[in-house]
Structures are given as structure tokens and as C-alpha cells.
Amino acid sequence: MNPYRRATLLCSVGLGTTLTFASSHWLLAWMGLEINTLAITPLMAQHHHPRAVEATTKYFLTQATAAAMILFASTTNAWMTGEWSINDLSNPIASTMFMAALALKIGLAPMHFWMPEVLQGLDLLTGLILSTWQKLAPLALIIQTAQTIDPLLLTLLGISSTLVGGWGGLNQTQLRKILAYSSIAHMGWMIIVIQYAPQLTLIALGTYIIMTSAAFLTLKMSLTTKISTLATTWSKSPILTSTTALVLLSLGGLPPLTGFMPKWLILQELTKQDLPIIATAMALTALISLYFYLRLLYAMTLTISPNMINSTTPWRTQTTQTSLPLALFTTAALGLLPMAPAILMLTT
């Protein structure tokens, strides 16, 4: 793609999210979301491949539907209460419709069906933008309105997302689909605690972005999109293989890695709020996700995939990809747990 066009589109994507962050009026927030959707559409379809075009179409249709529902919910609220402000979403019908629309936007179960298909059709960098940056604006709106939304709805969305994210990811061999289901599961963790402690949602979002970026950039560095080619990364870059193994464990939420932080804090908050059953259910569903992360780890590090050549290290030219972002995100994904108190202080 022409670099000027790519720069313009990336800036528009940033503008859309920033506009939604900065708005207190529903129409401006909706406009930011629409700018976001429209700007990322050419980025997704830039390769003109039929699958990329299909993924773009699916993404555009779902996001446009969600945006239309948001507009409808906000106009319903304005009709009933006369308020356009985001913080004054008092009509229950409007708030439920709004939550359903935003759940569709970020891919929460049961509105998650578009996510694996869309991510599968994209290249890894655009998939990374979709999994991380595109979640910011809708989550900002959810955090602002969480107090007015039915608690049962939020809990159901959270638990079903973690369940579906775990269960759906079990059967996959394509890595982008696995990361899509991982995204669904992590969104579930973010939503479940939003009504009790929004700062934990922000912490979960931040750590999720760091870990997912590390995962996507690793896959981009080793140019793999399925488990069978992931199994040959040990011969391409042994250091990357070992750090990726740890990043996967971090995604699974194991201590002493960064991914443990949000899960521990969220379970602690749920227990404090006297919801032990929900906390237990969340912990158990996290185990299902952990299973497929461990399966990736097993395929990558604990097995030697059959190669057709005799030597163990195939010849590979020096990569021209920039490795600094990968290094930064990997370090952050592995080593931020001891800073948990500082991060908590930052977000409260």
C-alpha cells in the first residue's frame, strides 16, 4: 500500500479511538467508533485476497450493526430522558441495548462468532491492531456506563465469554483463530469485574495488550500461522522459542509472569464482593484456555517436529524485521508482576 495512504488510515484509526475517549456526548462517541471502523476497513483489505475481503466484509457488517444499535440506544435514551451525556444513561432498555452493541463490537460471547473468522482472514499485523487497538474505544464507553448496566447481564457476558473462549480455542490448529478465542476469553475477564472495580479492567486490558502484542509479533517474526509450522521455530530462533513459551504461559495466567496479575486481582475482588461461585467458575474456565496455550507450548518446545533435512538447524537468512517492539513487549509480558502494587496505584 502507498505509505501515505497507510499513514493516513492509521492516523484515522487513532483519531477515531481518541475521539471516543474524549467525548461526553453520545453522537461524538458514535462518530469516533464509525471513523475507527471505516478507517481500518481498507487496512484489512489491502492485500485484495478473497479471504481478506471476506474478513473485511464480515468485520464491517458486524461493526456497522453494533454502531447502528449504539445510535439507536442513545437516541432512545435521549427520547426518554432528554440526556445525551454518556454518563447519564438511565433508561434500562437503552443501557441493555447499548451493552449488547458494545459486546458485539469487542467480540464478547454470545456475539463472538465473527471474531475467529475475521482474524483468520487478516495478516498478523492487522490482526494485532484489531485485537488490541480496536478494543480500546468500546471498553472506554463500557467503563463509563458500567454502573447503569444490569449486573446480571455483565456477569453472564463475562462468564460465557471465558467459557466460549476456552472451549472454542480447543479445537484449533490455526494460530490466529487461537488468538481470537484467547481475546474473547480475556474480554470476559475484563467485563466480569467492571462493575466492582473498573481499575482492574484497565489493568487486565493493559496486560492483555502487552501479552497479545508479544504473541502476534512472535508469530510475525517466525512467519508462522499454524501449529505445524510453529513447531519448527526452535530451529529458526531458539531464544524466541523459549521466550514465546513463557509468553504463552503468561497468557494462560500462571505466576510469576505478568498474566497472573489481572487474574489474581480479579479473583480477589470477586471474593471480596462475596461472589465465590463466580470466582470459582472463572478460575475453572481459565483452565480450559490454559490447556490450549499449553498445547501450543508443547508443540513448540517439547517436541521436535519432523523435518525433511538431516541437520537440526536449517539455514536461514538474517531477518530484516524490527525486533525492538517484540523485545519490549516480551519483557513486559514476563516481568511486570512484581510491579503490581505500583500499577494498582497508577490506576486507582
Binding site: H48, H49, R51, E54, N171, T173, I227, S228, T303
Partner: protein, 274 residues
């Protein structure tokens, strides 16, 4: 001459409009003409030369209770299998199988039930006179596709060329008739064992056809048969398949993505240019 032809055409067009308007004047007829006309993007296939099917949807229902009960049992069984398969691994097999496999036999003809995975069609669908049939060969280990190819175009006023026979694999279906796709991402070659009669064939594959944009997208490659008494092993790498849409080869070519292949079929092309 040309001027008179165009004036004739416009006259006919005007006459047609006037004619239609006379139909529209009585109010009852007017309602039926407007409501029963279909858009050009109707889904059902219309055989060239036939009028469009303008029945109402409720006139197309064929209700059968026992078939319904059997269908429910079958689909719930398939759904249960899908849930249970997840415990084992991708596509119901352990991951180690998936990682270690180098070849997979997708279709083989062993017994009469293997023929039910294939659909044979010829240009009789569009009114031509070709015929094609499949039957099991000797010892129930091979399948024979036989018939006659007739390239006389049907006289329906629309079709100019004709003469084809097609052997197509059925779309695999999951529970409740959802489309299922083959995941051939571990492989890079299509290997067929065939014995032909010397005619050139075309191997076509289609991928995801969810949207109308890609509905007619087919990836094709040629298959030249030898016609001898010996069997031929044909290996076609998937990267050789070229993209065409509605029979027209696309300028913007892309490689076939193997993680969602939906069906493969082959059809002979006649070399005469009728």
C-alpha cells in the same frame, strides 16, 4: 438499416411499456404483477430458457413429519459428536496426528457408500444433451465416470456453448446443515490416481463462499489424461491453481488458502470452438 433497427427496437420498447401499462390499469392485476415479480438477485437457480419461479414461499413447502423426526435425531447426534470430538483434538483426532501427518486420503472408492460423496452433473442442467454417470469399478475399488459429451448448445435463445460433465464432491455438512470445510493447511499437493480417455480435464476447487463476492470464485488447474491402459499419478501443487470467477480468469491472482476448502470437482472441456 441500423437506424431502422433501432427505431424498431425503441418502438418495441415503447409498445412493451404501453402493453405493460395496460396490464397495470386494473387494480387487482396490478397488485399481482408488482408483488409476484422477483428481483434479479434471487437465489434459486433458473435454468436458461425457463421462466422464473414466481411461487410464493408457502407454496414451496413440502411437509413430512417422519422425515423431520429423523432429521432431528441425525442432527442432534452430529452436534453431540462435535462437542465430544473437542476432547480428542482438532477434527476429532489427537494433535500429534495432525502435526505428524504428511498425507491424507481424502476420497477413496471402497464400496457403494463412497459414491454418495460425489455428485455427477452434465449440461442437462441447462438443457443440453450430455449424459454422465458414475459406478463402481472392478472389485469395488475404483469409480468409473462414463457417459456421452454432446456439444450442441440447447435451443433456449440464451446459451451459446455447451458440452460439459462434472464430478463434484459434496459439500461436507456439520450438524443442522451448516457448511463444514476441509482444513488442508498441512499439505501442499493434490495427488490423484486416475486413468482417463485422453481428454483434457480441469480440476476446480472452491474455498469459502460465504458472501456473494466470492460465490463464483473457483481455483482451477488442468488435468491432461493419457488414455492408456496404465493408471496415472497426477500431483498438482496447490500453488499452481489459478483464480477465476464465473469462468473468467482474474487479473488479480491470489493463491488458494487451504484452511477452508469446501469442494473439489473436475470437468472435461471440449476443444472445439462451437
Amino acid at each position: 438499416m441500423a437506424v431502422s433497427k433501432t427505431t424498431l427496437k425503441t418502438l418495441f420498447g415503447v409498445y412493451g411499456v404501453i402493453h405493460r401499462q395496460t396490464l397495470l390499469l386494473p387494480s387487482t392485476l396490478r397488485c399481482s404483477v408488482i408483488l409476484s415479480s422477483r428481483s434479479i438477485y434471487e437465489r434459486d437457480y433458473r435454468r436458461p430458457g425457463q421462466p422464473p419461479d414466481t411461487r410464493w414461499p408457502w407454496q414451496k413447502i413440502q411437509f413430512d413429519f417422519s422425515k423431520g423426526v429423523e432429521g432431528i435425531k441425525k442432527h442432534i447426534g452430529l452436534l453431540k459428536d462435535e462437542f465430544v470430538q473437542r476432547w480428542t483434538g482438532p477434527e476429532g483426532r489427537p494433535l500429534i496426528d495432525h502435526m505428524l501427518e504428511q498425507t491424507r486420503v481424502q476420497w477413496e472408492f471402497r464400496g457403494p457408500e463412497s459414491l454418495s460423496q460425489w455428485v455427477v452433473s452434465s449440461d442437462q442442467e441447462i438443457g443440453g444433451r450430455s449424459e454422465a454417470y458414475i459406478k463402481l469399478g472392478k472389485n469395488n475399488t475404483t469409480c468409473m465416470l462414463y457417459g456421452t459429451l454432446c456439444s450442441t448448445p440447447p435451443r433456449d435463445g440464451e446459451t451459446r456453448y455447451s458440452g460439459y460433465c462434472t464430478l463434484r464432491s459434496k459439500q461436507p455438512l456439520a450438524s443442522f446443515d451448516r457448511k463444514k470445510y476441509y482444513d488442508w493447511s498441512s499439505f501442499n499437493t493434490l495427488h490423484m490416481r486416475i486413468r482417463g480417455d485422453g481428454r483434457p480435464w480441469m480440476v476446480n476447487m472452491s474455498a469459502e463462499t460465504f458472501f456473494s463476492h466470492q460465490r463464483d470464485d473457483i481455483y482451477s488447474y488442468f488435468l491432461y489424461t493419457r488414455g492408456g491402459p496404465y493408471w496415472q499419478d497426477v500431483k498438482i501443487p496447490f500453488s499452481k491453481f489459478f483464480l477465476s470467477s464465473r469462468g473468467r480468469i482474474q487479473d488479480d491472482q491470489h493463491v488458494l488458502w487451504l484452511d477452508k476448502v469446501s469442494m473439489a470437482f473436475s470437468s472435461p472441456r471440449t476443444l472445439s470452438s462451437n
